[in-house]
């Protein structure tokens, strides 16, 4: 009985989101809500509806936020509920904040068997900052290892709520979900704002549709938007005309217009996503509002890596693919880069390591361009002896050390939540990564929240994996940029048979240079096959060699016997070897397999 609702009373609109840690059941709960409100009859058929990118589904994380509109009847009144989904990873904290800003309330979903985790906490604080009404929900109460009481205690302690305000559900079985729907109507306030005020709409997401251009998802706070309206994007002052407007059902549902409190979409002949950035404000061109919604930020890449096509021939298609990805991803930045070792490619900026991984994988899967990504780096601020300041986000551009006065590196505020049993391990790890402990608070008797200042360069190399492994998977991490801080960093070069491999250079703290250099040369020693001559692998700072490994000359590659004159078998073997060689890059007359560039990324950074 999916009701078509043209106009619902303003006070009957509920805009909310779900705050949850990965795996705590957000998508499953969304499915149940859609079933309960008859948007879909059987959500299993379209598994986890809100995550519509393959990659998202596979990784079980939401990369981009989406929204869906549901109708719900209670006590003879018809309600519209807009569920706004939020990305679930720290790389996308800004997008999360804009999604939260579009809501009036939030479900805080906590897995009864896991308890509250770091990211949940940080998103919760974010929600509280946005004055959202929080409804605590304990999920997975049907699991045998569920600790409902413990989780309740956690929530009460952290939110200062009473036990009777907490909903207990199983999104999997549907238990408690209809009560939760009633709770949403009861507790989450109707949107504020007035349809007669000057129009003010917040963009909380936008994505590129190859047929329609950019689809902009908005929450209207004030005024109205109608088809054919001339609108203005307040960060750029650009004018567009609304071609189509509507609500976000399972599919897009066209409408005449949207009013204050509504959530919907706009199509206005916008060519690329960067022209309709998340957080920007839309108003009417002829009757603009006074000021934009607060909190708009340009996307800030934090991690940089060189992306090169595996095959030189693919350079063009790599450029095209990055262009297409950027249409849909305002946070991705790139510019041409050339490397002696890898040829022509692009230096790309990413929000974080997950963002980088996603782009790499999308290039491969959606655009079929196999690539090599170089060692990720962060942005360093280098002050030269003449007082000039340069920004270095590619080790290749690192100035001659004699010309450097000092270097600053990005420092992050990190929040780590971990069971008390593992505090020692975490402290050891953070210390190895040059962390400075600022604070430690007990969340309950079993868990603490530790606040560190950590250099970003130390976080991007497998810090998260290490964190998980020293805490048996229990630690959770959240971080935000704090400041640039003076630091003794150096550039380390990698040399193969005396020839510098520009794509393998990296910038790191002086105290790490020897270990990292050694671990890279050792990794190369493992992955570069033996050649006909001895190969020296070196790490250097300037002209000073700090680590060295050697690949001994190849001793055996022979076909001893050609059985009964079966020459074809032998020729095929040689052709196969040749094909293997062709996939290698020749550096200092050494055949270096492509994998070497990937493997150096995995070199231990202890």
């Amino acid at each position: 009985m999916a009701l078509k609702v043209k106009q619902v009373k303003h006070e009957n609109i509920r805009n909310f989101c779900i705050i949850a840690h990965i795996d705590h059941g957000k998508s499953t709960l969304a499915d149940r809500l859609l079933e309960e409100t008859h948007v879909v009859e059987n959500a299993h058929a379209i598994d986890q509806i809100l995550d519509d990118m393959d990659l998202e589904r596979e990784r079980g994380i939401t990369i981009k936020s989406h929204a869906i509109r549901m109708t719900y009847e209670m006590d003879g009144e018809l309600y519209v509920m807009n569920l706004i989904d939020t990305p679930g990873h720290v790389d996308f904290a800004y997008e999360v904040s804009r999604s939260l800003a579009s809501c009036d309330g939030a479900l805080l979903l906590v897995d009864a068997s896991q308890g509250i985790e770091a990211q949940t906490m940080s998103n919760l604080y974010l929600a509280m900052d946005n004055d959202l009404e929080i409804i605590p929900v304990i999920n997975k109460i049907d699991l045998p290892k569920a600790d409902v009481e413990g989780t309740e205690h956690d929530i009460m302690e952290n939110l200062g709520v009473d036990a009777d305000m907490i909903y207990r559900i199983s999104a999997r079985t549907g238990q408690g979900v209809s009560a939760l729907l009633e709770g949403i109507v009861k507790h989450i306030p109707a949107p504020k704002g007035d349809a007669s005020n000057p129009t003010k709409a917040l963009i909380f997401d936008s994505y590129f549709d190859p047929y329609r251009g950019v689809i902009v998802l908005v929450r209207l706070f004030e005024g109205q938007l109608r088809k054919d309206d001339a609108i203005k994007l307040m960060s750029t002052d650009k004018r567009y005309e609304i071609e189509e407007i509507g609500y976000l059902g399972l599919k897009k549902e066209k409408a005449e217009g949207l009013r204050a409190g509504d959530v919907g979409y706009i199509i206005a002949n916008i060519k690329q996503v960067r022209d309709a950035r998340v957080g920007d404000t839309i108003t009417l061109f002829d009757a603009p509002c006074d000021e934009a919604m607060p909190g708009f930020e340009e996307p800030k890449p934090m991690v940089y890596s060189g992306i090169f096509p595996l095959d030189k021939e693919d350079h063009e298609s790599l450029r095209d693919s990055l262009g297409k990805l950027q249409l849909n991803d305002a946070a991705l930045s790139y510019e041409p880069e050339s490397s002696l070792a890898l040829g022509f490619g692009f230096r790309c900026g990413f929000l974080g390591m997950l963002h980088l991984e996603i782009i790499k994988e999308r290039l491969y899967r959606e655009y079929n361009v196999p690539i090599i990504a170089t060692t990720p780096s962060v942005k360093f601020l280098v002050t030269l002896t003449d007082g000039a300041q340069v920004v270095i986000y590619n080790p290749v551009d690192y100035p001659d050390p004699v010309k450097i006065d000092h270097v600053q590196e990005p420092i992050m505020d990190c929040e780590i939540i971990v069971p008390t049993d593992y505090v020692g391990n975490i402290m050891k790890l953070a210390q190895e990564r040059r962390g400075i402990q600022k604070d430690m608070q007990y969340i309950d008797e079993k868990r603490v929240s530790i606040h560190y200042e950590l250099p970003l360069i130390e976080i991007i190399f497998d810090f998260y994996d290490k964190l998980k492994s020293v805490s048996r998977g229990y630690a959770s991490l959240d971080y935000t940029f704090r400041e640039y801080r003076k630091s003794d960093v150096v550039k380390v070069d990698i040399l193969i048979n005396g020839e510098k491999v520009d794509a393998m250079s990296f910038i790191c703290h002086e105290s790490k240079a020897y270990n990292w250099g050694k671990s890279v040369t050792e990794k190369l020693q493992e992955v570069i096959p033996r050649q006909l001559y001895k190969v020296a692998l070196q790490a250097s700072i300037g002209s000073k060699i700090i680590a060295r490994s050697t690949i001994n000359a190849m001793r055996k590659n022979v076909t001893a016997k050609c059985y009964g004159g079966d020459i074809s078998r032998k020729r095929k073997l040689l052709e196969k070897q040749k094909a293997g060689k062709k996939r290698m890059k020749e550096i200092g007359s050494v055949q270096v397999p492509q994998e070497a560039f990937l493997e150096v990324l995995k070199a231990d950074r202890e």
Binding site: T559, G564, G565
Partner: protein, 372 residues
């Protein structure tokens, strides 16, 4: 290669005898368990295959090579009958591979009565434990006995096989077998470095195989000792006393044409390489339909040149520059100047030849790929 009547004259013949009493643990070549009736079927089809080829080509063998499998599972009379299917006025070398346990005094004596003038004995090792590991069904004692029987019967061209790089093998193991081998004073020695296909039982012991450095050291030891005992290394894996190199094997390395008969045999004729089905029944079925040279692959010019190069470079004398230029119409040293310069330490040069330095034999595949 033309005798004026439009037919090619073929000078080299390989005959595959696919039977074994028991398959060796390292062997991935085609063989089936020996049975009398299967042998009858095989011989009948072989005769027919020879006829079919003779209708197509003029075959006047310089060399015939009976390989296996285990050709010594055939009676000397059967061997002679097979040989007599060919025109034999020009023959120079007829080799049979034999297993030591078959080379009794009587078998050797009867074999000498045939046209076979060279015997290649699958001795492999003189260490009992290694023979057992390899799944061989003869002993080191039988190796020696077989050799002596052949000598007594009057054979003056005997080759012995020697395998190395075996699971658990040490330098001492290699040296001991090698000394036993040299002491016998054979005319020819074929050395084989063990390589294991995933499909063979011994693959399970691959981790016990000495590493590349050790195996390379074994190879050096073998080369040094055989050279010292006056064996000339005329090819990567083969050593011979003066004049006793295998003329048949040299045809493979010299880009000569040859015919292969029997299941799993391969041949090279008319710029085509073909391989018979590695299955007795499938091979018989082809012949019953008068079909020879199935799945022939026509070599492209580039493939031919590649083969020419890597085959000739296996030989001590290497590539004869004049022949290369005559065959491919371009001077070798012009075409491959950059490779020759880059690998000047490995590729030696005389005014007439380019050859591989013996020290580079064991990494020869890496060099061969440079010419592809």
């Amino acid at each position: 290669m033309n005798n004026g009547d439009g037919k090619n004259i073929l000078r080299h013949v390989y005959i595959h005898v696919p039977f074994c009493e028991k398959k060796c643990a390292y062997c991935s070549f085609y063989s089936v368990k020996y049975q009398d009736d299967l042998k009858e079927k095989y011989i009948k089809a072989l005769y027919r295959e020879i006829e079919l080829f003779q209708e197509k080509y003029t075959i006047k063998p310089y060399t015939i090579y009976l390989g296996g499998g285990t050709p010594s599972l055939l009676d000397p009379t059967e061997i002679q009958e097979i040989l007599e299917k060919f025109y034999l006025m020009d023959f120079r070398e007829i080799t049979i591979e034999a297993n030591p346990q078959h080379l009794t005094h009587r078998y050797a004596r009867d074999l000498k009565k045939t046209l076979v003038n060279r015997v290649s004995v699958g001795t492999q090792s003189f260490r009992e434990i290694e023979l057992k590991t390899l799944g061989r069904i003869h002993t080191a004692r039988q190796n020696i006995k077989a050799y002596k029987n052949l000598r007594k019967a009057g054979f003056d061209n005997i080759s012995l096989d020697f395998m190395y790089g075996l699971p658990g093998q040490t330098m001492d193991d290699v040296a001991i077998s090698l000394q036993a081998l040299i002491k016998l004073d054979p005319d020819h020695i074929s050395t084989y470095c063990l390589s294991l296909d995933e499909s063979v039982p011994l693959y399970s012991q691959r981790n016990a195989i000495p590493d590349d450095d050790d195996v390379a050291a074994f190879y050096d030891l073998i080369r040094r000792n055989l050279n010292a005992a006056f064996f000339t290394q005329y090819e990567i894996s083969n050593f011979a006393r003066d004049g006793k190199h295998s003329q048949h094997n040299m045809c493979y390395w010299s880009d000569k044409r040859y015919l292969g008969f029997g299941p799993a045999a391969s041949g090279y004729v008319d710029q085509m390489r073909y391989a018979n089905p590695d299955d007795v029944d499938a091979w018989c079925a082809n012949i019953a339909e008068n079909r020879v040279m199935p799945n022939a692959h026509s070599l492209s010019y580039a493939e031919w040149e590649n083969e020419y190069i890597f085959l000739n470079l296996r030989k001590k004398e290497g590539i004869w520059l004049e022949d290369f230029e005559r065959t491919f119409g371009v001077p070798f040293t012009d075409k491959y100047m950059s490779v020759l310069n880059k690998y000047a330490d490995q590729l030696m040069r005389t005014p007439t030849h380019i050859f591989l330095r013996p020290e580079a034999y064991f990494v020869s595949n890496s060099l061969f790929t440079e010419f592809i």
